[in-house]
């Protein structure tokens, strides 16, 4: 009888532990950050407080975006995510051109706010496709650069940070903030995109002011594959491990060149 009681207590404790764990991992809340009288930016927080926080500048907002889904999976790996909605405050739709036009001062305010708010020891910036622009803009700012230890670096997923369409026969022209960062950067690019041929040049440009830059190709996928509605079988397969892939890149930050 005593043994049964002990077993029952252990099972109850395990169940309680699992409930707490699941509850914290899937914890989500929305913060409001007032930039000025007219601008209030909402920041979606996914995951429980952890030693590593991720500020992800996403291309889209909405519960079912690939970014949010990935964050929910990664929360169990020990990350807390912050998704600032940089566009809704200005009544802008999430088009690539709008994302690239996000004011740098607002990006900086958001980053600074999250750095103060989080208890995480390290913060990672993530941005994909055109949403890599606010990441690059933020990293170029002296006030953000000053957080040498707290910001671990940035992961850019199939970044599109050109100033204009590439001309045949000419090197890509990147936004002016490229090459003004000092934090480590990892660039992930699809194997099935012409942009992969610009990776060596992008690496050189990004590292101009001290950033350690690593690049990697994702086999069999096109550019910004995770945002595409119609995915190829290889892209569907890549999505299965997208969370793991980003986790690995975060671990890589600053360790490879």
């Amino acid at each position: 009888m005593l043994l049964f009681r002990h077993l029952f207590a252990i099972v109850m404790l395990l169940l309680f532990g699992m409930m707490v764990s699941v509850g914290t991992v899937s914890a989500e809340e929305t913060l409001s950050l007032e930039i000025n009288e007219d601008t209030e930016i909402e920041i979606l927080k996914i995951g429980a407080p952890s030693s590593q926080a991720v500020i992800w500048f996403a291309c889209n907002q909405g519960a079912e975006t690939a970014e949010y889904q990935t964050a929910r999976k990664m929360a169990s790996l020990g990350y807390q995510f912050y998704f600032p909605d940089m566009l809704s405050a200005h009544f802008l739709s999430p088009t690539p051109s709008n994302i690239a036009r996000v004011p740098t001062d607002e990006v900086v305010v958001v980053i600074e706010h999250i750095l103060k708010q989080t208890t995480a020891e390290q913060v990672i910036l993530v941005g994909g496709a055109r949403a890599a622009v606010p990441v690059i803009k933020g990293l170029a700012e002296p006030s953000v650069k000053a957080h040498k230890d707290k910001i671990k670096g940035a992961v850019l997923i199939t970044p599109r940070i050109n100033q204009k369409s590439p001309e045949p026969g000419a090197e890509p022209v990147y936004i002016s903030e490229v090459g003004r960062s000092s934090h480590p950067i990892v660039v992930l690019e699809g194997e099935r995109t012409p942009n992969r041929w610009g990776l060596p040049l992008l690496k050189t440009r990004l590292s101009r002011s001290g950033s350690t830059v690593a690049t990697d190709l994702i086999k069999g996928v096109r550019g910004y594959f995770y945002l595409r509605e119609e995915k190829t079988p290889a892209e569907e397969a890549a999505m299965e491990h997208f969370d793991q892939l980003i986790h690995e890149q975060i671990q890589k930050l600053g360790t490879t060149s």
Binding site: S165, G169, N195
Partner: protein, 172 residues
Amino acid sequence: MMKKIYTLIIGLVLGLMSIALFAATGQLKPYQGKLTSPQINLQDLHGHRHQLDDYAGNIVLVQFWATYCTPCRKEMPSMNQLIKKMEGKPFKIVTVNMAESKQDVEQFIQQVPVDFPVLLDTEGATLNQWKVFAAPSNFILDKEGNIIFTLFGAIDWDSDDMVKKLSALTTL
């Protein structure tokens, strides 16, 4: 001596006129790259080696493309039509696939048959030399093999306008 100067001036005027003509389209742009003697030395799908010198004396459209590039797929039939419309004129099309496997390219060509050579740049060395970072990337070469114009993106290559302009180039 005077005859040489006269020929040079006429050549310059014709060259400038053709550049102005193409620049005005907003699509074909004068080449601004630094590649002075572009080279191609690649095999096609049948294993035949192609060099740019083989095309000397022709106006040549060199296109870099990829199977995953949807605009490339769409415009290729118009390139077949362009060849027909330019028949009898010193004009050739050569395309270079951007480092994909022969199997992938063959599969694509079965779906989109083409009437021009498809060369395989297996290691991407040629596209690196030509500075290609987007698909399709097009280069128009003069009869001496110099790149004179570029065009990024897909167009209707067999449009009357394009046929007229390319035909004009073949007469220079």
